[in-house]
Structure formats: structure tokens, C-alpha cells
Point group: C2
Chain length 207, copies 2
């Protein structure tokens, strides 16, 4: 099973790496990290570089496509070669997926018209710009398109997807394999659970 993950400058690393750690552990998985060009991309905090071993024009078909988000989404969604690539590769996939603002790239490629979808909590309304119906959920399955909420939501989405592809037992074993028994010391991971001052502070941190 060929899994292609788009990499680009100013993306959020965890958007890609969370699902990668889950999906790459399925037997037979092959993961391709593809950038607009081959080479290193620098993620959004500026300290981490990931290697795009492929240029997107080298990847013309894939079983799973995953588009991560991050502050670089605003740029990458205006790059016509990327939008064309997403539109062209989508018909070859079994699943076209996104994490966080990655869904805006799917939207820009015209894939979300009339469909329910989700994205990062702070930009949920932006989905309407692409004719999508914003839904506040951890992940939204709509046919073969699966959009996840912000950053860490990609882990939950990927576990669910692994179960769908490789069976519940295998997905459960992967969950144990990455010891994903979350015990955050706080409970402010959703705007519905955070005070207005925490929401304000979180928005400041993103900007």
C-alpha cells in the first residue's frame, strides 16, 4: 500500500508525523514523502527539517494521500502545480486525507464542494470558501475523503483508517505499539473545553 505525504515549508511536523507513525506500521506500507521539489523542507517553528525524497511530479498515483496543515498552508494552496497534482492524483487514491489546515488544500483543489469536512478549530469557517460544510469533529469521513481536525487529530484519524484498511485488531496493536494511551495533564485541547483567555492565548501563539 503506497502512502504519499505532502511536505512543504512552514507545515506543522506533527500533522504528518502523527499519522505516519500509525500508517507506516501497517504490513506492506510504503511511505513516500513528496515536496513541490525534492529536498529539505523547514517546518513551521523553524527548527526542524524533513526530507522530501520525491518531487510531487514523480508521484502520479497513490493508495493514500495525506495533506498536512500548518501556517505554510496559505502559501502552498496558492501554488498551481500543487493544486493540479492533488486534483490529478485524487482519482487514483483509495483514501484522500488531510490533517488540520491541510483540508484547505483539498478545498482549493475543488474536492470538498458540497461535502462535510473539518479542519483546524481556528479556521473552521474557511471551509465555506470552498463550498464545504464545516463540521466540528475529530475527523470526518465522506466517501473516500477523510479530513481531520488540528495537528494531533491526525493520530486518531490514522488509527481509525488503519482499522478500516487492515482490521481492528491490527489497528489496536498499532495503538499499543505507539503506547497511545493519552493522559494529558490538562483538558483544554478543544475550544469547547478552553476558557476565552486560553483561546486568546492560543491564537496569539499561532500568530
Amino acid at each position: 500500500m503506497k502512502i504519499t505525504i505532502l511536505l512543504y515549508d512552514d507545515m506543522t511536523a506533527l500533522d504528518a508525523i502523527g499519522p505516519y507513525e500509525v500508517l507506516s506500521r501497517m504490513p506492506g506500507a510504503e511511505v513516500l514523502f513528496a515536496g513541490l521539489e525534492k529536498g529539505l523542507v523547514t517546518t513551521d517553528t523553524g527548527f526542524l527539517k524533513l526530507s522530501a525524497d520525491y518531487a510531487i511530479d514523480q508521484v502520479t498515483a497513490t493508495d493514500i494521500l495525506l495533506i498536512p496543515g500548518g501556517k505554510g498552508t496559505r502559501q502552498i494552496m496558492t501554488r498551481q502545480p500543487v493544486i493540479d497534482w492533488v486534483r490529478d492524483i485524487h482519482p487514483t487514491t483509495q483514501f484522500t486525507t488531510s490533517v488540520c489546515t491541510g483540508s484547505l488544500v483539498l478545498g482549493a483543489a475543488g474536492l470538498l464542494k458540497g461535502l462535510p469536512a473539518t479542519t483546524y478549530w481556528a479556521v473552521l469557517d474557511m471551509l465555506e470558501n470552498f463550498g464545504a460544510q464545516p463540521v466540528r469533529k475529530r475527523y470526518v469521513e465522506q466517501g473516500k475523503i477523510i479530513t481531520a481536525a488540528g495537528v494531533s487529530a491526525g493520530i486518531d484519524m490514522a488509527l481509525w483508517l488503519a482499522g478500516k484498511i487492515a482490521g481492528k485488531e491490527l489497528a489496536q496493536a498499532i495503538q499499543l505499539g505507539i503506547e497511545y494511551d493519552p493522559q494529558p495533564p490538562y483538558d483544554t485541547g478543544s475550544p469547547a473545553k478552553a476558557s476565552s483567555s486560553i483561546i486568546h492565548l492560543a491564537r496569539e501563539l499561532v500568530d
Copy 2:
């Protein structure tokens, strides 16, 4: 605040990237990814390369040290320059931390003697080889040494650490920033919650 994360071949990417996404969002954070040598390291599933922008001998002091784990731990914990570096840099830190089998590197450097510590569930007993007291917890704080359980546990540990360093409000804002409101579709992230067949399958996936 200078945060140094060790990178090495066959490490598990999420061990490093989970805490990185949390700690790098603290105001004033500077993150250095350091390898035995400068250059790319290939993570354990073989598909992802991360860039070590520094060689460890270029980093002689740090505020936070983070040692990730993965199947490459067995190799890296036998490399004397790495063990010497961990031992030498530890006195300069405010916090010396590990995720997953990364604690075995701390153990090999002699830092865990007589101390409670944790690691990946499947190798918990190995901590005894280094005179540590194995504890089955999400993370264990012992003075300035903080060891986390497997892979995804680093996210929880880092949120807790961010709260300790930058205050509870900021850590809560970071949690919202990465939309960390975990909703895994299964509940098998700990051996205490998984059936024996799932535990068997998880061990097979690791090997």
C-alpha cells in the same frame, strides 16, 4: 531556552516530534536537533529522514535535553561518544528528559542509578540493568530527570513540562494550539487495556 533533541538512525520519529511540537511553542524556545554527526538520520520505519543540523560535539550545554527511543536505541546506547555526551551535558540542564526507550540511554550514561523511571512498556524490566526502579506510569519526574513511557507519551510529558516551565495557562494554550483533545477510536494504548492477542501482535509489529 535551549532545547536539544538527539536524533539517530532507527529512532521513532514521534518520540521526538511529539514533544518538539509542544516545547518549541514556548515563547523564547530554541530547538537544536543534534546527531552523532551532522546530517540526515533515517527513522525506524525507513521512510522518513530528519535533519540533524548539529553534531553532538557542537552542543556542550542545554536547558532541556530530550532523548527519543526506537529500535535504534540498542545501537546508540553502545556508542561511547553519545554516552559521554549525555553524561557531560546533563549537569548543564534544567531538565534531562527521555521518551520511550530513550531512558535506556540515560541509564547507560549512569543517570538513573537508584531512581524511579519509566520507558516503553515492552522493555520496562530493562531499566533494572542500569540500577533504576521501573515504574509503569505515563511519565516519571525524579528531580530534574523526567522519563516518559512509549512514543506518544512524550506529548503528555512535554505538556506537563511546559506547564512547569512557562506556567499552566501557556501549557493549556499550547494544548489547544495542537488541538490535543485525544479521541482514539480504540482503547488499547496500554498493555493493561489490551488483550493478550493484541499484545502479541504489537510485539510482532515492533520486531
